[in-house]
């Protein structure tokens, strides 16, 4: 079993297999995104109270899911690297951290924009948005810690531990923020749950959530592949790759 497990972990194997079905994933992601966006923007009925501004939900909710899911992906990759010392896991974690941070920022940004027409202010200390802010701090902690180490191996281990500590604390932070929110504004509407939606509004949301999961996978793999090239640039197979690509480009360039 061990042989298989290590082969799975070899960056080169990952690079080649992901190379094969990456284009399909890209096409699928694009298709889902376009369908979902059009459906949500143009075909879904308007929300009775919020009017058309509710359509931002089609970005805000999926991205919020991904932001949280992304943290767990990063923590798991970190743990695999910490326990079994598989280099590929460290590369996946290096790719997942900035990606997750960008998605969390996007979630906060779209949440803020959505807040303006609905409650009149860009920033409202609502439970979900506050938890999202804390998640962003957790991400930034990992990203900044990653860049401040000179040695890459120690950086990988340190970030893995920080991500694990963060993962363990997320439920506590989310619960305590919810508890805090009900303490200070018990009366106002409970925003965190998606409002019971009309099926026509809900279907595009499902499509968008699926689209964003594919998007996350696509970008994660893209970043991991680049990280592999970066770390394995001294190896023979990467140089052959560079040469083979060179031949292709020269071929096409002298054709014109």
């Amino acid at each position: 079993m061990w042989r298989w497990f290590h082969r799975l972990g070899s960056p080169r194997w990952f690079y080649q297999t992901s190379g094969r079905w990456l284009p399909w994933l890209a096409v699928l992601t694009l298709a889902l995104l376009v369908i979902g966006t059009l459906w949500g923007l143009a075909f879904a009925p308007e929300d009775a109270r919020q009017g058309n501004s509710f359509r931002i939900i089609y970005i805000h909710v999926p991205v919020s899911f991904l932001a949280l899911a992304g943290y767990y992906v990063m923590a798991v990759a970190g743990a695999v690297n910490l326990i079994w010392r598989i280099k590929l896991a460290d590369m996946v974690m290096t790719a997942a951290a900035p990606l997750g941070a960008a998605l969390t920022f996007l979630a906060l940004f779209t949440g803020a924009i959505w807040g303006k027409p609905t409650w009149g202010t860009y920033w409202v200390w609502d439970a979900r948005i506050t938890s999202m802010l804390v998640l962003l701090f957790l991400y930034l902690g990992v990203v900044v810690l990653r860049n401040s180490f000179s040695g890459r191996d120690t950086a990988g281990k340190a970030c893995a531990i920080l991500a694990l500590v963060g993962t363990v604390n997320i439920p506590i932070i989310y619960k305590s923020v919810d508890w805090w929110f009900t303490l200070h504004q018990p009366a106002t509407i409970k925003l965190s749950g998606a409002p019971s939606m009309h099926p026509d509004m809900f279907k595009p949301l499902l499509v968008m959530i699926l689209a964003y999961y594919c998007f996350y996978a696509l970008v994660l793999i893209l970043n991991t592949r680049t990280e592999i090239l970066h770390r394995e640039r001294r190896t023979a197979w990467v140089n052959d790759l560079a040469v083979s690509e060179l031949a292709v480009t020269e071929l096409t360039s002298n054709e014109q």
């Binding site: 501004s53 960008a102 027409p117």
Partner: protein, 71 residues
């Protein structure tokens, strides 16, 4: 000019862009989302290209220096 799909919520394309007065917010959010997502996809591709170029430079230099020595 109004394009009628079945179920197209808005009466006309112009109204679609107006978004019932919330145009800036909806298009703002979608616009920023688009920018961030495109940047997330493009960044690794650019970085990949620069790494491969760098390798090619080294390979060319090494071939060049070998060629110099052999002469």
């Amino acid at each position: 000019m109004n394009i009628q799909f079945d179920g197209f919520y808005f009466e006309s394309l112009a109204e679609f862009f107006a978004m019932g007065g919330h145009a800036t917010y909806v298009w703002g959010a979608y616009g920023v989302a688009l920018v961030v997502m495109v940047w997330l996809v493009v960044r690794p591709l650019l970085r990949r290209a620069s790494i491969l170029n760098e390798l090619r430079q080294n390979l060319k230099k090494r071939q060049h220096s070998l060629y110099e020595e052999s002469r």
